[in-house]
Amino acid sequence: MANKPLGELLDNRFLRQLEHLRLVPGRAATRTDMGDVASRRLGTSVEFTDFREYQPGDDFRTIDWASLARLDKLFVRLFRADENLQLELHIDASISMEFGSPTKLAYAVQLAAALGFIALHHGDVVSASVFGRQPQQRFAPARGRQAIVRLFRFLTETQNSGGTDINAALGRLAKEGVGSGIAVVISDLLDSNGYAAGLDALLRSGRQVALIHLLSPAELNPATIGDFEWIDSETKESVELAVNTETLAVYRETLTAWLTEIRSYCHRRRISYFQVDTATPVDQLVLRHLRKGGLLA
């Protein structure tokens, strides 16, 4: 993705469509400052939500004086807090992401740009990281539309980071930052050590996690038959296999089981999971699938 012109990352028509979208926060939304997003937390906005009895320490300004006069009891008025949303974009940039046409990494960068644009356009805080075995490149939390260009520039300069260790990288990222907000992980999850520990670490830190799982068409539906020695692009280990129609059937069964396993894991952890074929256009993914999946509105 290095040196890709910013204009090519997302076209103007798509950007205009993105302006109408918003991130939908789940139970966790980072409050860094007063923001534009209505939080589930009770706060200080003008939107009244409830009463409760006064407790020592409550802000006197919230005491409902009318209730005191009528009931002779102290009640405080509760308002929905207006909070800024913290969006973390974690992009897997391992070598395996460099496969496909377009490459999964390019696809991930475009997707991250779209999500980042949405967040920044609405004044949310956006940070980004590119990881391989460890977090390699970071985009420091930024807010405001003026950060869009910087974010895009960061994304266009994304380089692959060698091998993958999703658990280690996400574990380290979980310890960093404010510990809440929406963490969007974009990866192919092709890591023999798995992914669950890393995602669990993000969840434990209080983040709402969305997992966007990219797979190329060749990975989803391989059709090549013959005697092959498959060489892993990251570990350089090889697997010798005579591929015939029956082997391909077993592959498809294995792939389905793997995807089911990931989906089931995400469901249990309440992680928003999107399995994406990189043949799907990014705008279609964002405008249709992510909205349908509840990540965007």
Partner: protein
Amino acid sequence: MTLLSPWWLLLIPLLYGVILLHTMHPQRHRVLVPSTLLWERVLRELEADARWHRLVANLLLLVQLAALLALILALTRPAFLYALIKQRHDIYIVDVSASMSAVDLEPNRLQVAKERLLDLIRSDRPRQVSIVTAGPQPELIYAGRGSAALINAALLRITPGAGDIYWPGVVARVHAQLTEQTVQVTFISDGAMDSHVVTDLVTAVGDTPLRLERVSGNGNNVGIIAFEARQRGASLSEYEVLVTLANYGAQAVEVPLTLSGRSGLIAERIVSLAADSVQSVIIPYQFQTQDVLQAVIDSQDALAIDNTAHLTAYPPTPTRVLLVGPGNYFLETGLSVFPQVRLERRLLYPEQSDYPLVVFDRIPIPEDFTGTALYLAGAPADRALGARRTPQVTWYDRTHPLTRFIAWNDLYLQQAFNMPRLEGARILVESEAGPLLQLVRNNDQRVITLSFALEESDWPLKVSFPIFLSHLLRWAHPEGWEFVRNPLTVGDSLTLPAAFAQDRGWTVRLPDGSLVQVAKEDGPTFRDTRQAGVYTVVAEDNEFYFAVNAGGVTESDIRTRLHMPTGSFVDGAETQGAPATLSWIFALLALFLILLESWLYTHRVRRPVHTDMPLRTELWNQWRRIRAKRG
């Protein structure tokens, strides 16, 4: 089970080749992929099914081995079931030619051949057996159910002949025995013959396989291969006797040769013969009267029958020539040159004449004519055919005894009659007008027809004319020109002289002293010449001799010239649809197994090579351990 082509079993080592192919590492395409995570899982999934996989892989190997084995068996042409189903009939041909009496095998080749024949019948176990002897006079000596006692009795009657094989007779007898149930024809021989005879046999047996069984020894033999005499000088009685000896052994020998006649010893020679050589000895001799010459060599060789040869001689008798017609100046002048000719002239042909040569000069030949005749065209019927003026000779036979040594194309013919080609005629001289000279042979007559009148040509003025008359007289009546009668070879037939016929026929004394009667109703042809030696036609007051010799270029050379491995089949017969019913069964089985192998490979064998060959894996692991130690 009989394998008709057992040498295909030499392909069995190919089975190991199939096993070797299974142990070899296949050529795989190296492909870089994002991750082998899923492929490893696929591999584990497949390995979970490894027992079935290994079984299928081994099954694949077994199917391949079975297919190859079935293919090899199909090529060996197993014929066991065929023999059972078809009520097997085998024909055995036993060579009884002179060479089979050679004693280079104990007790002789023929006896060994008989024993080999019995062994073959025991191993082949045919339901029906036919045994044909191949000698100068072939015979069917046995045809039946293969009873051992009867076959032994038949074989006891076989004795070695004294001459070469009469192949037309053999072929005819074998052909008569062939049936649909005939599985094979076996020829047991010493192979002392030219290979073309096999072609004749192959033609005779058709689609039936022809098997050769050879019995042969060292083949060392010295023999008399020719015993002849030729005139020397102008005198009819002065001759050169020619004895040709051949040494077919590997070492040079010196052989004493003795030539004797009725009057006693004529000459003795010591003949030195190099290895594998032929040498002729010429001995001058003047015949006085009827005589029988005998040439004998003293040689301790394998074949004794060709160590003796005979030659008979009679004083020439005058040649009586009858000229039927008004007279022919040129012909009469030409014949008068020859002192042996007694010319008579008549206007009409007398009935029952015994002239050796009759010339019909412009007179048609009677239909009942028997004998030898020269017909000079010019009868009214010939003139009615028309004539061509100054025809040119276009072709003539340069080899025939009547026309050789004559330049026929030098003739000037004023005209020649447009004679058609007579039925069954052999054209000797041909011109633009048609045949000038043609010969017709029937059972009892030989007629030479000349299509032009002598006086209408310049032929009588040329040297070639008396030469032609000389040829004609010698051809028509050789007894008037030669002392010596060419000896026959064993198996030849002879026309017995009419002068020696008695009331019922002829009586012939064979060389072993036994007498044979030839009835007049059967004709004057004598065929029972199985023995070598001097035959005597006995009359009341006279005797006539003729000699039959055994030796010859083909029979005296008792070395194997038919280079076929014993027990082998002749290619020509083998490829003509041999009775290999089982071959088709095995071929179909092989085809089925190949299809099964293909299906197994495509549908069942997921990893046909990689982990399922214990031998290969073990070797691979060993190599890796060695490499690790060195590294």
